[in-house]
């Protein structure tokens, strides 16, 4: 195992020497994670809010299911989608397996329950009187809903950040569905796994430091947006 300081040094030289392979892996990581977070938010936020706001017979079950899906192991999810996307699978004709799109499909499904759960908590945590009050004051249902969304946007942003954090750091889905193809589907996490398999521990750790710096700075960016819009 190389010394930690050596890895830190390598990490910075990788960033500043504009190593093309590293940049390509960073780009794949960030772009697939961004797409997945956007897609998962489009589904997850409404699902979470809908469950939180409405009352229906199986609500408890739905909440339990959502909670359980949060613990979905990435390799199991990867395997399930692999079966669907393989040429032998139901969706094989699309030819998605081992492309960045396959990673996005997997990561979106991974992040959706997490985002939905956070959105659910945000709705539950909001003052229950917001909707009735707005309606009583003469707001239309749409306006009242907008008011509620506005009140809980901090929680919504937290949902998006949590979803993003999950997908940028995972390796199971990216490895299984992407295939770790150089210049194409190699992400930072699969690159680290590859370097480890080659016995290049110091270089793998250097990549890890680069990944951490990038994902932390994106998180800082998202969090500062959250703070700014706090009423």
């Amino acid at each position: 195992m190389g010394s930690f300081t050596q890895s830190v040094g390598t990490a910075f030289s990788l960033i500043f020497s504009a190593d093309r392979e590293v940049y390509a892996a960073v780009w794949t990581s960030v772009s697939t994670a961004a797409w997945s977070t956007v897609i998962a938010s489009l589904f997850g936020l409404p699902i979470g809010m809908a469950i939180g706001l409405s009352d229906f017979p199986l609500k408890r079950l739905a909440v339990i299911l959502l909670n359980s899906l949060m613990a979905m192991p990435t390799v199991v999810l990867g395997l399930l989608i692999f079966g669907l996307l393989s040429r032998q699978g139901v969706l094989g004709g699309l030819g998605l397996l081992f492309t960045p799109k396959a990673i996005i499909v997997g990561q979106s499904l991974l992040a959706t329950p997490i985002i939905a759960n956070y959105a659910l908590s945000a709705v539950r945590g909001a003052d229950a009187r917001i909707l009735p009050t707005a309606l009583t004051l003469g707001a239309s249902p749409m306006q009242s809903f907008t008011q509620l969304t506005n009140e809980i946007r901090f929680g919504m942003m937290a949902a998006v950040i949590a979803g993003y954090g999950r997908v940028i750091s995972e390796v199971g889905v990216a490895m299984m569905l992407g295939g770790n193809i150089l210049w194409y589907t190699r992400t930072m996490t699969t690159a680290i796994a590859l370097e480890t398999s080659k016995g290049e521990f110091a270089f793998g750790l250097a990549l890890g430091i680069v990944l951490m710096l990038i994902s932390f700075s994106i998180n800082v960016g998202l969090s500062s947006m959250q703070e700014e819009h706090q009423p």
């Binding site: 772009s31 040429r87 397996l97 081992f98 193809i181 194409y184 016995g199």
Partner: protein
Amino acid sequence: MKLRTIAIVLLALLACSTALAQDRLRMSTTTSTENSGLLKVLLPPFEKQCSCHVDVISVGTGKALKLGETGDVDVVLVHARKLEDKFVADGYGVNRRDVMYNDFVIIGPASDPAHVKGAKTSAEAFKRIADSKSTFISRGDESGTHQKEKEIWAEAGLTPQGNWYRSAGQGMGEVISMATEQRAYTLSDRGTYNAFRHGKTDLAVVFEGERGLFNPYSVIAVNPKKFPHVKYDLAMKFVDFITGPEGQRIIANYKVEGDPIFFVNK
């Protein structure tokens, strides 16, 4: 305002990522060809010649062939003759060609606690490891190397089991690292071992040179009659390249720290 700017920039960046579509040849191969660094020098000249991209999925031989059987790749580059023959006989692959070879070596601690060095055959070497209950790490992943290991145990008339026999289920590199940490024996292809020999492992070759340890690699195109969507023409171009004069020259000249990794037949 700031939020919207960020959103626009993000979307613009994402739009760029859907890059121009180039012809892509999808190849599954073993970890040894990728980890040894050979593909990095072998593929660029071909990619230039065919103006295409070769997408490499490097896994164990067993899985590499499985990806061919499901039509998820266009061509396979593997090393496990028996599995290859079955792959072709079952109609999944066509035009199997020899590409190159290296050999397997048994590696272990230089102190050689199981006295493998005196063994006459690889089967005897394995028997000595089993008798002394010295730790042995198996790939355990149905790779070509794992197939060869199972053949040797069968030849020795042994079914390895017990605390000393550990099935790792990982690639060659991981297994060499693991064996190094645990002062264990393992079977490795010479290419990966040579790539690790300089600073990554202090294990030594304790048995080598037997005819049975010969390790040939082949390239096989996936059968277009079975899977009409595979890029057969491109796959055959690759087969011709890698078995042709230029490909063979690149393989023969490829060295890691002065050691040749693969050999060609001529």
